[in-house]
Subunit: 287 residues, 2 copies
């Protein structure tokens, strides 16, 4: 704990579950780092009251002396804030983000040639039942992947510095291109979210409230994601529509095959067999 | 506890999660009832060793003196066993089942005119992470719905007697027609199961094992049902193909709308808004 902290002044723009959890993880590991949060006043009041931050700011323009700026707002908002964020961070400083899609913001960063600070896209894979700073936890990222998406022009020193910082918070950094990230997340995150939301909608409308009380644990356990907020997902869908579209088409085709083969034991057995196989593979990394 | 038990000799045919949990619930509430299990020898050995049953039998033909016979095998097997089961149960005895679809078995019972025992279809809505007697629990049905599906020819006395028994095990009995049950379960249970299995299959195949390790908690939490066994679901799909087909078509249509409107905020907002509404309704009955 007597080590030099990797940054001295960190700003977190957007203080929800992810931004708030990063602040708590920093507090725990590097208590000397000064943390500034940018968000709406009631969120900032809550954050300041909890001791998670040192300073509160209403906008990126109010920041100064920041050596790491973390964009943790919804993805399209992060893209809009990028130019201002890179300008406000001093020489040798870094800007990163935590958005669930990476192509748009990496492209935007490439277009900002001559920015004094380096941008490295990031995506911590942590999740909780509910969003918002109220559910933030210092250990949200512990042992979990944190994907970085540098491109050919990202200085290696910036990648190394951010990688070291992420490790110091307990996460497991991994690196891939923005395109690969977005295609992968279309399947691992975006398709499941949209499928569960559509499923909950169809089930609710077909059974009405009095039918829902007869639902078993399977439906309850499977549809937790159905309470996800539209404002986050609207931007994810728009910024990754191509890859999500491909994923949706694959699922629709599979559901159509199932629909045609409901009375055919081979069709049903094949789907259940492969599903159980992949579920077991999934759980190998999550025990 | 000094009350007269509603039955004296109960046989449970198929001793998995549901059959086994019924035995444990009976043991707890009515220790004087004699319980006979019918299943494969290794399952029976486990059941007998745990003290959950008094007798083990290899087949329905080996049973005698039974006043309640509970068919708890996969649904098509229950239908095949029905004639023998009603014949083996004495005058004034009852046969019920616990299958997830009801139309086939109720139709089969109607065709058995002149059977000495009365049949009342049943479906306890209890579920657990994993199937099999090893996961059976005496409280699996406590406070949970248990649907009965009598038809016009079912003696009221049989309905009342079974209703009282189900209440005594802690469940909440409710009554509806077999057609209504199967349509409702197509949405509440069968559609979610098939959707989750297809989703897990598509996600696994598109991302390969190395991609799955980057999955977040959302995918893990949403796909528990993907490990469900094919042998149970093959029969559910075949016996309720019509209603499940309708449900699948509604979901496919909704996914196609979403696919076409990924970049359209109104489309995405509408799905997420309605999904969150129905998820909240669902949770009202499950807290």
């Amino acid at each position: 704990m007597s080590e030099e902290p990797p940054f001295e002044n960190i700003a977190i723009v957007g203080f929800g579950l992810i931004g708030g959890s990063i602040a708590l993880a920093i507090r725990e590991r590097w208590p000397s780092i000064r943390i500034t949060a940018v968000d709406r006043p009631p969120v900032l009041a809550h954050a300041a009251g909890s001791g998670a931050i040192d300073r509160a700011a209403k906008s990126v323009a109010d920041l100064s002396g920041i050596d790491l700026l973390i964009l943790a707002a919804p993805v399209e908002q992060n893209v809009r804030l990028l130019r201002e964020a890179t300008a406000i961070v001093g020489d040798g400083g870094l800007v990163t983000d935590v958005g669930g899609t990476k192509r748009d913001i990496v492209n935007a960063a490439c277009a900002l040639s001559g920015a004094r600070s380096a941008f490295v896209g990031g995506h911590p894979i942590g999740g909780a039942e509910q969003g918002g700073f109220a559910f933030a936890r210092a250990d949200l990222f512990r042992g979990r992947p944190w994907i970085l998406t540098p491109d050919g022009s990202t200085p290696q020193e910036a990648i190394d510095r951010l990688t070291g910082f992420i490790k110091s918070l307990g996460a497991r950094p991994t690196t891939m291109g923005a395109d690969e990230h977005d295609r992968l997340m279309a399947f691992l995150s975006h398709l499941p979210q949209l499928t569960i939301s559509a499923l909950m909608e169809v089930v609710g409308e077909a059974t009405s409230p009095s039918g829902l009380r007869l639902a078993g644990r399977g439906l309850v356990d499977s549809t937790r994601l159905a309470s996800s907020p539209a404002d986050v997902w609207r931007e994810v869908c728009a910024s990754n529509a191509g890859d999500i579209g491909v994923a949706l088409e694959l699922l629709i085709a599979r559901l159509q095959q199932l629909r045609a083969g409901l009375a055919d034991a081979e069709t049903v057995d094949a789907v259940f067999g492969r599903a159980a196989h992949w579920r077991a593979e999934l759980m190998k990394g999550h025990e």
